[in-house]
């Protein structure tokens, strides 16, 4: 099964720009289905980006973020060839992780 995380990280002079698209239903728990019943909450709670043994970015998502979320950010440091590890955990305790090389 393919990873749910697609990531692209590009190193600049002194900072790295990261873009990631995560596949997840992100059900808030407030939406009803066609039968009128609440779709139970099923959403990512935290996403963590690590490189060089350090967490460079933590995202705290939750019910307000919509389906298949996209995140883009820049962090100081990072260089071409380094590993960037991304991990998410959702409210059901499921998780996925992927590692990409900084370009």
């Amino acid at each position: 099964m393919a990873s749910t995380i697609r990531v692209r990280a590009i190193a600049g002079a002194d900072s790295t720009e990261v873009q990631a698209l995560v596949q997840h239903p992100m059900d808030s728990g407030f939406v009803k289905d066609s039968k009128g019943e609440l779709i139970p909450p099923h959403h990512i709670e935290t996403v963590q980006f690590e490189t060089g043994g350090k967490v460079v970015f933590t995202a705290l998502w939750g019910p307000a973020v919509s389906k298949d979320p996209f995140v883009k950010f820049t962090f100081k440091g990072g260089k071409k060839g380094d590993d960037l590890k991304i991990t998410w955990v959702d409210n059901k305790g499921s998780t996925d992780t992927t590692t990409a090389k900084i370009a």
């Binding site: 697609r6 692209r8 389906k67 298949d68 996209f70």
Partner: protein, 283 residues
């Protein structure tokens, strides 16, 4: 009482059909094509011809900026991958979609819809996909989203950049009739809101309806199927046509009903020469 009579008279005069200067007999698809293209290029002289296929992004700078950023990881990515899988997976009888289409179904999206001279019907890509499934003993897809959107997304992707090449067979009056019916559907008002497709996409492209920027009719199908943020998912041409109907308070027809296939034929012909840009992402 007199007021009612006056009102009734005024109303009938307002709605009396005027003398029609142009009838369909004096027009032709070629003449329509030239007039249609000229209308949009002169209304939007700063828009590059091929950019019309980007719909609202060709009309609004702020929207375009957001779209360009998103295209790095477009929201249709997952559907595209799934579509490729479905396209390549053999049916129970061992055949695949490749056996139903020219060139194994790769790089053919720009030829749809075409007029099938054997059945005298307009065949759209979505119809062809389901015909393929049924021919091979498989269950047809729901026309609106999910697997149909995924497969047509993949087929559109293999045709990216190729210009629409829609043909109206000259010797077949039924083909011309389908085109003309499609044209009529496009311009005819319907629904309690009394809108036609043209009300939004010819009269008001680049303007807003509520919070949405309207796309020009020129090239409006080139990006289909689309991931629409409003839908939180993918939608096909069938999905868009049916939802446009209900948005003007008209009860939608069934997906791939003749009216829808005819209007798709008309709009695709009008976009001849413009590149396929699908699958697309829209607000």
């Amino acid at each position: 009482m007199r007021h009612l009579v006056i009102l009734a008279t005024v109303m009938t005069c307002a709605f009396a059909p005027p003398l029609l200067a142009e009838t369909t007999a004096s027009s032709s698809p070629e003449k329509d094509f030239t007039a249609f293209r000229h209308y949009f290029t002169s209304k939007f002289p700063k828009v590059e011809l091929n950019d019309f296929v980007n719909g609202p992004y060709s009309m609004d700078e702020g929207l375009r900026k957001q779209w360009v950023e998103k295209e790095v990881f477009p929201p249709y990515d997952f559907a595209l991958d799934h579509g490729k899988e479905l396209f390549e997976k053999p049916f129970k009888n061992g055949k695949t979609f490749a056996d139903c289409f020219d060139n194994k179904g790769i790089g053919v999206r720009q030829n749809y819809p075409y007029f099938d001279e054997k059945t005298n019907e307009v065949v759209t890509l979505e119809l062809a996909v389901n015909q393929c499934l049924e021919k091979n003993g498989e269950k047809p897809y729901n026309y609106m989203k999910d697997d149909m959107a995924a497969v047509t997304a993949y087929m559109a992707f293999t045709s990216r950049g190729k210009p629409f090449d829609i043909k109206i067979p000259k010797d077949n009056p039924k083909a011309l009739e389908a085109y003309e019916k499609g044209k009529q559907y496009f311009y005819q008002r319907r629904g309690q809101f009394n809108f036609s497709c043209a009300s939004c996409h010819v009269q008001a492209p680049g303007e807003r309806i509520r919070a949405e920027v309207l796309a020009p009719a020129l090239g409006i199908l080139n990006a289909m199927p689309i991931y629409r943020s409003e839908w939180g998912g993918m939608g096909t041409i069938s999905r868009r046509f049916t939802s446009c109907n209900s948005q003007v308070r008209g009860v939608p027809l069934k997906p791939q009903d003749p009216e829808y296939r005819n209007v798709e034929y008309y709009l695709s012909y009008m976009a001849n020469g413009l590149p396929i840009s699908g699958p697309g992402a829209r607000p």
